[in-house]
Amino acid sequence: MIPVLLGVTIISFSIIHLAPGKPTDIMTELNPKITPEARQRLEKYYGLDKPILVQYGIWLKRIVRLDFGNSFSTDSRPVIDKIWDKNLPLLDRKLSITLLINILSISLILLFAIPIGVYSSTHPYSFFDRVSTVFVFLGFATPAFWLALLLMMLFGVKLGWLPISGLKSLNYSSLSAMMQVFDKAQHLILPVFVSAFGGIAGMSRYMRSSMLEALRNDYIITARAKGLSETAVVYKHALRNALLPIITILCLSIPGLIGGSVIFETIFGIPGMGQLSFQAIMTRDYPVIMGLLFITAVLTLIANLLADVCYAFADPRIRVNKG
């Protein structure tokens, strides 16, 4: 794990620092009142005058202490404060917002994809299977940002059922606790749905083929031959096996989900990591970009680790050994 993480940081760091241009240009804009000396002062202030290896060394030394450095933007706040602002309620911090949306959307994906996939696989080429196949292909092909725009127009503008943007209403703080939850839920419906939409389609497809494969295995045939009920065959034996690849795919899709956050957080005006990363990219806020890449990599690695654990847990061979 550690070497992978180290490699990730080296790749990110070199890509960011070897690209042309410097972040200080943004600050100085085309302000005719700034002299070359003033620019050099700024560069020195941010440590950009040092050789890149030295800069990486400094960054690495800090990261060990979980210090991501200070943002290059004019507020020069510690990156960690931007991502995990201790002054805010737990659920309002950028990392929690993005994690919350992604966890909700993963749950939504599993909630829909597994039943759809299982049903399709046990009733292959039935009417339901065909309809779900069409839906799957449509879902796979729909650009998320386009879907977001269409839904915003429909539910936000035409029908006025859902809020258009943001995470909570302006009068949020004056609402009762119950209403606060309701208010937030309303704001989350569209973003969560949009981010889950493609996933539901993709995952139900994987589920279907994974199930089909599992149902073809010898032990399923054995189980059937033993006279087990079809429900037991499908849900006890096949499903568990079919879930294994799904877990892997799910974990592999985590960086993609976080990357996708950039688009829908920008469209829906959600103050999460996605929006922060887009702003950081556009303003060349190196420490923030590095911090975000690092955190995503860590999250992905954790997910992989979890996948291994789940794998072990769900693997029937291990269960046989136990018992």
């Binding site: 990730v8 080429y125 998320a144």
Partner: protein, 278 residues
């Protein structure tokens, strides 16, 4: 495997045929763009800004008064180009690294696979966005960067195929007859490993089209006056309340294209992979 059984199986799959039809039509449109586009895609008309679909402009006009239908038709070329070049790049990288890892195994394999793990840890869209923002958007940069960040799946596929194929008899006999490594890799093993790669490449085109759309949508796409579906959608987003046609039609174009490649890819997979014969 018999070519005939594959085509038979493919032609029985209606969705796959639909996919093939969409992709074919798309190719024809892209190739014949100059002949079928009703207007020059560059002609600006400030007196006809954002006209709704009508007789003069079947799909309406954009925010500089240019004919939307013509721009969508020309935009198909970009999707096609980005899809194919990006996938070409990623497939080549994937095949080379996958073959090396699968054939040689040991430290070469573990190094390459570690690198694959690293690349899979990146949120690739985030990475693409960063690089494009830094080096400047152009169709070449986009193709290259999409290609450079999407080869990992192919590499894994090829490696897996190699691991199983290199123990097969015909390979072992080639080894004992003293053939060079490169010859074994490219002549004996690779041709037999290409089927899944081909399927994944078709699906990869669909993914690349989506990424290009998203990039252009965020303003980091191909440069004017070249139209691409994604950059038409950007102006669609800017004008969404009054010009629905600017959002709906290019979005549909992306949807149909991606749908076409996906159907085709899945159809091919089903046809080529006997396991899926039910």
């Amino acid at each position: 495997m018999q070519i005939k059984t594959v085509t038979d199986r493919f032609s029985k799959n209606r969705l796959a045929i639909a996919g093939l039809a969409i992709v074919t039509v798309l190719f024809i449109i892209a190739l014949c763009a100059p002949f079928i586009a009703p207007y020059d895609y560059k002609t600006i008309n400030v007196r006809a800004i954002l006209m709704p679909p009508g007789k003069a402009h079947l799909l309406g006009t954009d925010d500089l008064g240019r004919d939307l239908l013509s721009r969508i038709i020309w935009g198909s070329r970009i999707s096609l180009a980005v899809g194919f070049v990006a996938v070409g790049i990623s497939t080549v990288i994937g095949i080379v690294l996958g073959s090396l890892a699968g054939y040689y195994g040991r430290w070469i394999d573990s190094t390459i696979m570690r690198f694959v793990d690293m690349m899979l840890c990146f949120p690739s869209f985030f990475l693409i966005l960063t690089v494009i923002a830094f080096v400047g958007p152009s169709i070449w940069n986009i193709m290259i960067i999409i290609g450079l960040t999407s080869w990992m799946g192919v590499a894994r596929l090829v490696r897996a195929e190699f691991l199983s194929l290199k123990e097969r008899e015909f390979v072992l006999s080639a080894v004992t007859s003293g053939a060079k490594d490169l010859r074994i890799i490219f002549v004996h093993i690779l041709p037999n490993a290409l089927t899944p790669v081909f399927v994944s490449a078709v699906l990869g085109v669909a993914a690349a089209v989506l990424v290009e759309g998203a990039l252009s949508f965020l303003g980091l796409g191909v440069q004017p006056p070249t139209p691409s579906w994604g950059n038409i959608l950007t102006s669609g987003k800017d004008n969404i309340e009054i010009a629905w046609w600017l959002s709906v039609f290019p979005g549909l174009a992306i949807l149909l294209t991606v749908l076409g490649y996906n159907l085709l890819g899945e159809g091919l997979r089903d046809a080529l992979d006997p396991k899926f014969k039910s």
